[in-house]
Amino acid sequence: MSDKKKKRTIIRTVLLLIMVSAIGYTIYSNATAEKNVLEVGEKAPEFVLTDLEGNEHRLSEYKGEGVFLNFWGTWCKPCAREMPAINSQYEVYKDQGVNVLAVNIDQSEFEVQSYADRYGLNFPIAIDEAKSVMEAYSVVPLPTTVLISPDGTVTDIITREMTEQEVAAHMESIKPE
């Protein structure tokens, strides 16, 4: 009898625990989890983009080097303010194994090219015509900068304007050893 009782208590405890934790987890993840968002620490999704000069950039080809991926648009004012900083730091780090790729979100080649000319941008700029890279990196606000380490993982995602010091520090952080 007391054995039976013990068994019953155990079954009840287990059932209650399962139910309560399932509900608790559901409420918690409904409150916190954002759907399908790329997170720091994940492997950076592969992409292939062709820049304005016609060169193809494939992420996997930069294995062993850092990638500074900047998403931007010509209408975005903070983008315009950080572009010169990125450009000058690009000059510093381009020979140290840090690649910069600026990804424009589906604007016309004319707008992108004249923008690059006006700001004298030297780093490669590609246009993400179907917004597929933007989707893969779940970019919402502009500018968004994704830092990819030499081993291909995302080490940081910055969703605001950066100062020149910050740009330098970020590039330094993904420099191969």
């Binding site: 059932l15 559901t26 759907k35 292939v48 004319f110």
Partner: protein, 553 residues
Amino acid sequence: MEQIKCQCGHNNPPGTDLCASCGRPLTEKEKRKKLADMRYEGSARRSQTYNKSIVDKVWNFFSSVKIGIAIIVAILVAASIGTILPQQLFIPAQGEEAVREYYADVYGSFGAVYHFLGFHDLYSSYWFQALIGMLGISLIIASLDRGVPLYKSLKNQRVLRHESFMKRQRFFGAGEAEPDALDASAQELENMKYKVRREKNGILAEKGRFSRWGPYVNHAGLIIFLIGVMLRALPGFYIDESLWVREGEMRAIPGAPGYYLASENFEVTTYSGEGDEEVYGEALEEAGTVVKDYKTDAVLYQVPEGSPPGATDNLEKVKEYEIEVNHPLQFDGYNVYQMDYRLNELSSMTFALTNKETGESRGELTVDLSDPQHIYELEDGSTVELIGYYPDFSGFAENGEPQTATPIPNNPGFLVEMTTPETPEGETSFIVIRETVEPFGENEYKLTFQSAETRDVSGLVIRKDVTLPILILGGIIFMIGVTQGMYFNHRRIWIQEKADGTVLVAGHTNKNWFALKKELDKTTETAGLPPAADQQEEAKQKEKEGENRYDVG
């Protein structure tokens, strides 16, 4: 607590009201009743029997019907509070601060309080979800506690019951009977589709026992449904994205890696009120324009396996489909719904290069706004060089540079340099709709707006819901349970011949007593059994006459 031993020798679990074997009342309370409480066959509800540890107490809490009803009522009241003012989802304001202000501005202090209490997002609040969760726990525990003992007692029920059990059924009769009444009634009951069991001097006829499982089946359906809803919280089980696509554009489908969607055409039609639609004439006059249909001619593409995003030159066409309201595009578990649209976004503009004085035109140029060219050459050697294009011109910066607010051509501005054989050094001009700025003095030539072409933007929603089959299963099981429990009933008739030759007849059903009475009367009449009377009716009658009061429960 100890097992209860009945006079008939059967051991019953503690808390039992009616002996599972013979049906004798076991508790004092039960003995006092005029009619037996047949709700769970008088079996012990598991939770009531153990009430020691905290676990047992929690278990008992959720097992109680009273608590279950209290939870239902709490959800009901909470849900109704959420409809007093529109939920956050349905208001135009976006962002926490804006939402708070919206409630305060539009609904005054009541709105502010409503927002402060979190009622603006009531259905996703943690406490509302917790209430639903508690309902789920209550469903599971209450069903287990009642379903299992009920199943056991119905499975083990005996044909011969004690006289006290039969006497305490609502339909009961006793008296003399024809000699072969038992055989005749067994025959008659079988004719009426009863399952008849005989044992020595007694008969148990039963039909529709499965209807007793109805509540447990429908609760199981609800539990499965709730599990399905919970799974949606897990990443990847539920995708909900939106997509705006212009005519002639192709876009990666959000949430569906590797898939692309192109819009070839978007169309809105409205009711004309003519021909077949003449019957709507008056309603249309009242309402103005009513949209009849809107749809996107879409083409679905897919990249080959393993092809990364970015490259769009190797796309394979999957299918063409007309996406319409109520007719989503379906592929690979995804559904693309037609939700919204924006009409008439500028797609190209045509200008003429004209002499301001004579009005003479040197030719026309058309600027494709999604792909403007650097240089437009006209027939007679004149050129228009595009220096800057600002799709949504919003004014000049401090350094005089034109600005654009968005990438959408709401208010396109063009900075151009016009060169003609007469003005070989070129003239600079800035053009926006209905306005031309000439920053470096008076020009001889200007670009005159001729015409524009527009295109429509289609608003689509992409959804994938892996939990749907679970939800559907839950829904089906629920409906089966409700149907079996409510449209069928469990009828039982006991007949027993006592040693002295008296025959006892008793009948029970979980609902629709009228139908049972009919069948019972038919049996007693044909077989020559003593008629059964409705004891509840009699009790009511007496109560009314003020003679006696019974606790009928």
